[in-house]
């Protein structure tokens, strides 16, 4: 677990321990250092004092080269267990006496070294001048003391330091463990309350307050926040209830309206059906008198041609033409009505094959017009084949018809993909139209050209549009005057 994730209790204890530990270690180091330095100074001072006393005592022995006396004086060194060796040099630097009396050669330097005290190779050595009074120097006293006393002192103060450190750290740990609660307890209480509030969504909880310090302020602020959340939650619930009521009201209202609409639609449908039925019966019923008018006009023309004269014949010819045109119109209207009423049967249809059939029909009817038809093979669609034939028949025949004034007339049938949707295209290079009237193309009886210019009833494209609508598709057209027209449809 990384330190960052430690519980606050442990962090606080660790920080307190770390700080007190650091302080204690530094203090202990200072203590030991002080002890060692002081002790070294002390034993140096002791050695200096001892050396001076011995030097003062050994003046006569040196002055009068009395080896026995010098040896006896040095022998007093045996009372100091730390003294390793000693020697007296005369003024010429020759050894007069040594301690121990028969000292090993390596214990005694061959000649006196400069006066002073120094730690050398684990020993404290002292070279002290020997002089009587303030007078001329008589010789040099050498004393070497081992530093075991120093290392003993270091060990002792080290042990003391470690024991004190251990006890102090234990005490610091106990105090830290006891006192960290003053800080961690309010935080833990806060954390517990916060967790409980967020997991149980219970905002009526309040964190206990331990004092007036910053944590107390935090607790107050937290409790206030909880209170505000509680209020807002209640307010939100009220709002939600009100909203639900309103939604229910609106839904009911909408249901009423839907009901009304449905009724309207049904009424409209009924009226429409009635209208269709009416149109159908009217058209149907109109055909009989029309046939009579045409038939009797023909009889008149054949049987009474001579009595009628040129003017009469011409008038009757016009009557006949008009009645025939009216018959065509009625046929078209009946077709339109049938398209609306006919039942749909959806199946796969080969539009390319269907187009070729239609073209054959067109060319048989007018073999003397050289129109080039370009039909892309393999175009298929789902739909009612009878109705789709009406669509293709109308569009191809329109292309053929409106390109009649072109010497190189051309009609194409193909398809393209637009936004992942298949769009069928019928294109001609005929008279075209003005795009301003594009929306009028598909209205019943709406014509952009006069019957004299191009014959027609103005029902064909309306029929086409109704069929496309019934298939759930769209149809639109683009054109430029004298540049041709293009019809697009989807199914």
């Amino acid at each position: 677990m990384s330190i960052r994730d430690w519980p606050i209790k442990r962090k606080l204890t660790a920080i307190l321990l770390l700080i007190s530990g650091l302080v204690l270690v530094l203090t202990s180091v200072a203590f030991v250092t002080y002890e060692v330095v002081t002790f070294r100074q002390t034993i140096q001072t002791h050695l200096a004092t001892r050396s001076r006393i011995l030097a003062a005592n050994s003046t006569a022995a040196l002055a009068f080269a009395n080896e026995a006396d010098a040896t006896e004086i040095l022998a007093a060194l045996r009372y100091d267990p730390h003294t390793v060796a000693g020697a007296l040099y005369d003024r010429n630097g020759r050894v007069l006496a040594t301690y121990p009396a028969r000292a090993a050669a390596d214990l005694i330097p061959g000649a006196p070294e400069p006066d002073g005290y120094r730690f050398e190779g684990g020993r404290l050595v002292a070279f002290t001048p020997v002089a009587q009074g303030a007078n001329q120097r008589l010789g040099t006293l050498y004393i070497a003391s081992d530093t075991k006393a120093v290392s003993d002192a270091i060990r002792l103060s080290g042990i003391i330091a470690i024991v004190v450190l251990a006890i102090a750290l234990l005490a610091a740990y106990a105090l830290a463990a006891a006192l960290q609660g003053r800080i961690s307890a309010p935080i833990l209480a806060l954390a517990e309350t916060a967790t409980a509030a967020s997991t149980r969504q219970d905002y009526s909880l309040r964190a206990p307050k331990f004092g007036e310090d910053e944590l107390g302020t935090l607790t107050d602020a937290f409790n206030q926040m909880l209170g505000r959340i509680e209020d807002q939650k209640q307010e939100l619930q009220q709002h939600a209830t009100r909203l639900e009521q309103r939604v229910a009201d609106r839904t009911k209202e909408l249901e009423h309206r839907n009901e009304a609409l449905r009724r309207n639609a049904a009424e409209l449908l009924a009226a429409n059906n009635e209208l269709d039925a009416f149109a159908y019966s009217v058209s149907h019923d109109l055909r009989a008198p029309l046939r009579s008018i045409d038939g009797f006009s023909q009889v008149l023309l054949e049987d009474y041609a001579t009595q009628l004269g040129d003017g009469g014949r011409d008038s009757l010819q016009r009557v006949r033409a008009a009645s025939q045109r009216m018959a065509t119109l009625i046929d078209d209207l009946l077709k339109l009505a049938r398209v609306t009423r006919a039942e749909m049967r959806t199946e796969p249809v080969d539009l390319s094959a269907m187009a070729r059939d239609i073209v054959v029909d067109i060319q048989r009817a007018a073999p003397d017009r050289p129109v080039e038809f370009a039909i892309t093979p393999g175009l298929e669609a789902q739909g009612d084949s009878r109705l789709l034939r009406v669509v293709l028949d109308n569009l191809l025949r329109n292309g053929w018809k409106y390109s009649s004034k072109r010497p190189q007339a051309r009609v194409e049938f193909n398809a393209l993909e637009e936004n992942g949707e298949r769009v069928f295209v019928v294109k001609d290079n005929g008279a075209g139209f003005d795009m301003r009237y594009a929306d009028k193309l598909f209205g019943v009886f709406q014509r952009l050209h006069s019957a004299a210019e191009f014959e027609g009833t103005g029902v064909g494209l309306a029929t086409v549009r109704r069929i496309i609508d019934r298939h759930g598709g769209r149809i639109w057209a683009e054109g430029v005057v004298d540049q041709g027209a293009t019809f697009y449809f989807t199914l």
Partner: protein, 178 residues
């Protein structure tokens, strides 16, 4: 040039010193005579002026040669310089602190000591039984070493104080009572 010569002399004499570890008998005696001054106190009347020289006198034939002069050269006892005087006759001795009586005067020791009386002069000699005969310090040759024999009573009688340190390295003798 003179300095260089002096340095050379010091160097050769130092070398000589190293080469002859045992100083000659009289060389040692000369040093001892000089050292006595540091372990002996004379009554204040003997040196009213603190800068008065310490006078070491030699009575009779001088066996020390230049050793004593070399030893005391440039030395001082406190503020007092050292001075060597050589006496032919007893009457020559005026102001003197340490008097070395040569062996040549052995026959006359009693006479000389009697003449000096209670004057505060440290008497030293290497003559036989000098201390027993009333002299203060006697050099005794002992197995190539020079030992000291001191007649403390004689010194006390002359009001000359000998340091206990000096006494410690010496043999104390008395003048035999007749």
């Amino acid at each position: 040039m003179a300095l260089l010569k002096a340095a050379f002399t010091v160097l050769t004499s130092a070398l000589l010193l190293v080469q002859t570890p045992r100083a000659s008998e009289y060389q040692v005696k000369a040093v001892f005579l000089f050292n006595f001054a540091q372990f002996v106190e004379w009554p204040a009347v003997a040196a009213p002026d603190p800068q008065m020289p310490v006078i070491i006198g030699i009575l009779g034939e001088d066996p020390l040669g230049t050793f004593l002069d070399e030893t005391v050269r440039g030395e001082r006892l406190g503020l007092r310089p050292f001075e060597i005087r050589r006496y032919r006759e007893l009457t020559d001795i005026t102001a003197c602190n340490i008097l070395f009586i040569s062996r040549s005067e052995s026959e006359r020791v009693a006479e000389i000591l009697a003449a000096l009386g209670k004057r505060p002069i440290l008497t030293v000699s290497d003559g036989d039984d000098f201390a027993k005969r009333g002299g203060m310090i006697q050099f005794v040759n002992d197995k190539n070493r020079i030992r000291l024999r001191i007649n403390l009573e004689a010194a006390q009688a002359a009001n000359v104080t000998i340091s206990s340190k000096l006494l410690r390295v010496a043999e104390i003798v008395r003048t035999p009572r007749p």
